[in-house]
Amino acid sequence: MPDATGPDQIFQRALANKEILLPKCNDCGAYHFFPRVLCPHCHGSAISWEPASGKGRVHTTTVVRQKPERGGDYNVCMVELEEGVRMMSRVEGIAPGDVIIDMAVTAFVGEAEGAPAVLFKPVEA
């Protein structure tokens, strides 16, 4: 496979290397997510990639209820990163119902559906 050139390819390739990169607009300086070829804020097309700080807070959260024999309940949430963007993810390491809004979380690259994915864990008190 040639070098990653598309925004999704760049993001996924970084994840495969255990690195979380976020797209940032060179014109207005704002981050955005999901990755794309233009800035959704100012519509500039000069985009750079910056390593994510990994610091975030749970913006909203739910528990998908599922019978234990089908895998049991799990968390789905939106995390707002320090950089000002939000991403869907899940918080691991605590019960899905214990994930609460405004909880401080830290990103890590784990695995979801057999592929590298951004996941979160509660910040150690």
Binding site: F34, V64, M88
Partner: protein
Amino acid sequence: MTNQLRGKSAIVGTGHAGFGEAHGLTAYDVMAQSALAALGDAGLKLPDVDGLFCTMMEDSMPALMAAEYLGIQPRFIDGTMLGGSSFVNYLTSATMALDAGLCDVALIVYGSNQRTASGRLVTASRPPAYEAPYNPRYPISAYAMAAARHMHEYGTTREQLADVAVAARAWARHNPEAFQRGPLTREDVLGARMVGDPLTVRDCCLVTDGGGAIVMVRADRAKDFPKAPVYVLGSAAQSSHRQISQMRDFTVTAARESGKRAFAAAGVSHGDIQAVELYDAFTINTILFLEDLGFCAKGEGGAFVEGGRVAPGGVLPVNTNGGGLSCVHPGMYGIFTVIEAARQIRGDAPGIQLNDIDLALAHGNGGVLSSQVTAILGSQNTL
């Protein structure tokens, strides 16, 4: 829609088919039965239809499939797919097409057999790439996260959410067309199976079969049909996102803008509206849309619906047929907000018929709070 289109088109026929369980029928069968019912209501026949406004939950070209099935060759088609709000949105495009002479008889139509075909929501959508790895359950996880945020910011309670479902059922109990007519209490809703916190299965719309259809003509000939015409006084749309992860404020929908412009186009105010028909896919929807459409302030929707205030005999009649929560929800509910609003104005609502209704509001929601379309309908007296 601008004021230029106020009252330029009228609904002269409505119809539906396959409510509940349409055993042995395909989605297109239900669509066609709905079309026949609406055309019969208008005293028209399929060859009269030269404008088709349709989308379905299956196929990549559902409007063409529908035209082919019906045996018609429309000279104007709008198949714009905005989820469940599509059918409210077609009121705008049908009015424009009729007014411009691009068609003379507009048929808006939808049908689904999702209950008997699979028992769950059928969708042709791919899961969004940046959400799919986390397995949100569509669409409930999206609405659950909106509800959780609303509860966090405004203190909205699960009891208030439950009261939306209880009110919908109270209307449905009087509607022989409604799928769920048994008693339902706040405790029933709260004690039901949790499916996506904070929403239980009773906070969620039904999964039924069903179809609906609307026939529209230009206002200048609207009085030539058997039923009293219902005029489109104003309609307006706004979209804010497609994927729930892209919703900027989980407690505010684009209904703020669509509502503002629909009211301005119709030249009426909230106090004039006598019946409100909202797309209530989940109990949080009713609260969000009452706030965003301006029937109450942001954050006060929970108190607004509490204790039967939107139930029969309350302060504002909302979802007078029982809504998607208790009447019918065949994948996309939007068309039924318009049909119930029109029937309340005509005076032939299937359940509780309110007295002397001249003005009603229909509001469609599409995607995951993504597309919002508001329409204000009126009787002859409102022209």
